[in-house]
Subunit: 352 residues, 2 copies
DNA sequence: GACTCGGTTTGTATCGTTATAAATTCAACA
DNA sequence: TGTTGAATTTATAACGATACAAACCGAGTC
């Protein structure tokens, strides 16, 4: 008690700079130190909730801090502690899937809400090696955690991050022996169920557009699709010249050609809305009737297909939720060393 | 010359820490200082290209820096100089327009390529005042420049940023007296030309879905639309209960109701692809034939409508270019105090 | 030989924060 | 009365970079 007051009265001697408030600038620890008559160190520790600091002091300090609207300087914290309070989301500007990035960003953003973390978008330009942004972040420690997508079976980024024991989470799984955090959508189930719906509609020959084979989820999709095919003993066709990444014009042209054949597929599994629109366009341009001559099931990641006519059956993938999950799991990974199994999540296919 | 070598030989005395390389960590200025036998200050200034430093020294230093892969520590630079090397893009997670955010992010990202700037996504949660993220950035100087969208005629964010003389650029114009940097799309021209195309197709009564009136571009659109209406002396209808921000279901329902009337509109101007899909769905659900009973012109911001059948006339808005322009102009604004007129850009409507 | 002067390099302090070690206070105890 | 120790608080140094003022060097001048 007396210390306080003596501190207030005689507090000037050492940190006499308090007299000159740090310009018109933001309040710093020193501002609070001046106001309370405490040392900067004490203020810092008080705000950090150190139990070595008297409870009363802690309360008084945080009270003052709140009053003057103190916010710690991120740069200073980062320089001192090495923690950046940054989550880096690596994005490929070429993602064609409708609003893929936006939904995911929104999800991650939501998870980061009310945390000190900022979201930095790190581009991966397609003319550069995929590992580059990860290597850069790792080398310069410009983030506390990394999120990336389009995971490959033997993903070099995963390997590198695992080796460095650096917090990360990816959208999609690998086939690596070492388990690692991920959020994935069950594309096996998607393709399987999509195919089953088509067979249930009486289709005799199915087609599917797969992602580039480099990506793990291409195999999942193929597997799900083929399982349904085998169960039914159906004919099928997997066009090799297009992928989910192809321009929609290319996909339309491809299916326009396919639909010209007498043994054309009468059911198509579409991995995305734009793909579905392209296939529909191809059918339309042939005068084929949707739901009669040709059936389609598509993955839906936005509200768009609620407005598409005729109505097309869809299977929903919640990308915003995926983003939110990735954010949450990554934060968990950063905060504490959890067993990896708690950092893995597989989004199931909703409904049939 | 001699200095160099003496420096190399006897360079140890003061900065003897060079012997213990800073852990396994990244190289810093001190690493280079150790290697070259120069003082940290000299290295810093050499890398900064200070002409006070001998050309030979500058070259030698940057050579060494390159060899050991030196990258300046952002946190340290930021703490010392106050420059963050961050551009903040304020995003509203509720933007419904298809891929709006993604395209813009890609554009900004492209502009920031090969600069030291990072892109930070700052969310604006719709349950919070619009000014909040801007005020926060301003107060804590967490960025060197701000980008935001959905500008209002008397936009509080613009006012605040102008007052603080803080670099920013917005997507959309204001009606403020003080000129400020912006990139905008000519929505007047869009609406005008869209309407004219519809009248050219023989429409007798036009409808348009406008953005929420709070936004400046709502007025631009209305004005363009109404100009065309007046020139042709046509009937028109502007549904009040929906806006471009409405859920697409609401828009479809609204137009389903409109299309039920005998004096229904036979031409609709759609400000976005999802809107257009909703209107098309409403028409379809009434059995109205597109291109005959009802005509539509839509703004196109992605490749989606290339696949929509029947083909719908579209007017293109390049959001990625808008993002790129915003990035470039903002960087220009940060680098040098240019006249504002060079920091304004209006994207014209391409073709008729 | 002392002196000045460009051209060049260096030392010192600082940004705001925090880890570490040291200091202070005061009550309890011998 | 002096000692011990728990409870608090404080001083110091560092993170890596840069602004500023001062120092250094050799050459040219008087």
């Amino acid at each position: 008690m007396t210390r306080e007051e003596s501190g207030r009265a005689g507090g000037a001697p050492d940190n006499d700079r308090m007299m000159e408030p740090p310009g018109k600038g933001k309040p710093t620890l020193r501002t609070i130190a001046g106001l309370t008559g405490l040392a900067v160190t004490t203020v810092s520790r008080a705000l950090a909730g150190d139990v070595q600091i008297a409870l009363e002091t802690r309360m008084r300090v945080s009270q003052v801090a709140r009053e003057i609207g103190y916010m710690p300087d991120r740069a200073a914290q980062r320089l001192r502690t090495g923690r950046t309070n940054v989550i880096s989301l690596i994005l490929d500007p070429h993602e064609e899937i409708l609003g893929y990035a936006t939904s995911m960003i929104n999800g991650v953003t939501e998870a980061l809400r009310d945390t000190p973390y900022h979201l930095v978008i790190t581009p991966h330009f397609s003319d550069r090696p995929q590992i580059e942004p990860v290597a850069h972040i790792l080398r310069n420690r410009t983030a506390d955690g990394v999120i990336f997508t389009r995971t490959e079976p033997l993903d070099a980024r995963v390997k590198m991050l695992l080796e460095s024991d650096f917090p990360f989470i990816c959208h999609g799984r690998t086939e690596l022996a070492t388990p690692h955090p991920y959020v994935d959508y069950d594309n096996y189930a998607f393709a399987y169920q999509a195919a089953r719906r088509l067979t249930a509609s009486g289709c005799r020959k199915l087609a599917i557009i797969l992602p580039p084979t480099a990506f793990t989820f291409a195999h999942h999709m193929r597997h799900g699709f083929m399982t349904a095919i085998r169960e039914e003993g159906l004919a099928y066709e997997i066009p090799q010249e297009v992928t989910l990444d192809s321009k929609s014009d290319a996909i339309r042209d491809c299916f326009f050609a396919l639909f010209a054949h007498p043994d054309r597929p009468d059911g198509v599994v579409c991995g995305g809305e734009v793909i579905a629109m392209a296939v529909m366009a191809a059918a339309y341009d042939h005068g084929l009737k949707l739901g009669q001559d040709v059936h389609i099931v598509t993955k839906q990641t936005s509200g768009l297909f609620d407005q598409v006519r005729p109505r097309i059956p869809t299977i929903y993938e919640d990308l915003a939720e995926a983003g939110r999950l990735m954010g949450e799991l990554l934060l968990k990974r950063i905060a504490e060393k959890k067993p990896v199994t708690e950092l893995q999540y597989l989004q199931t296919v909703t409904g049939f």
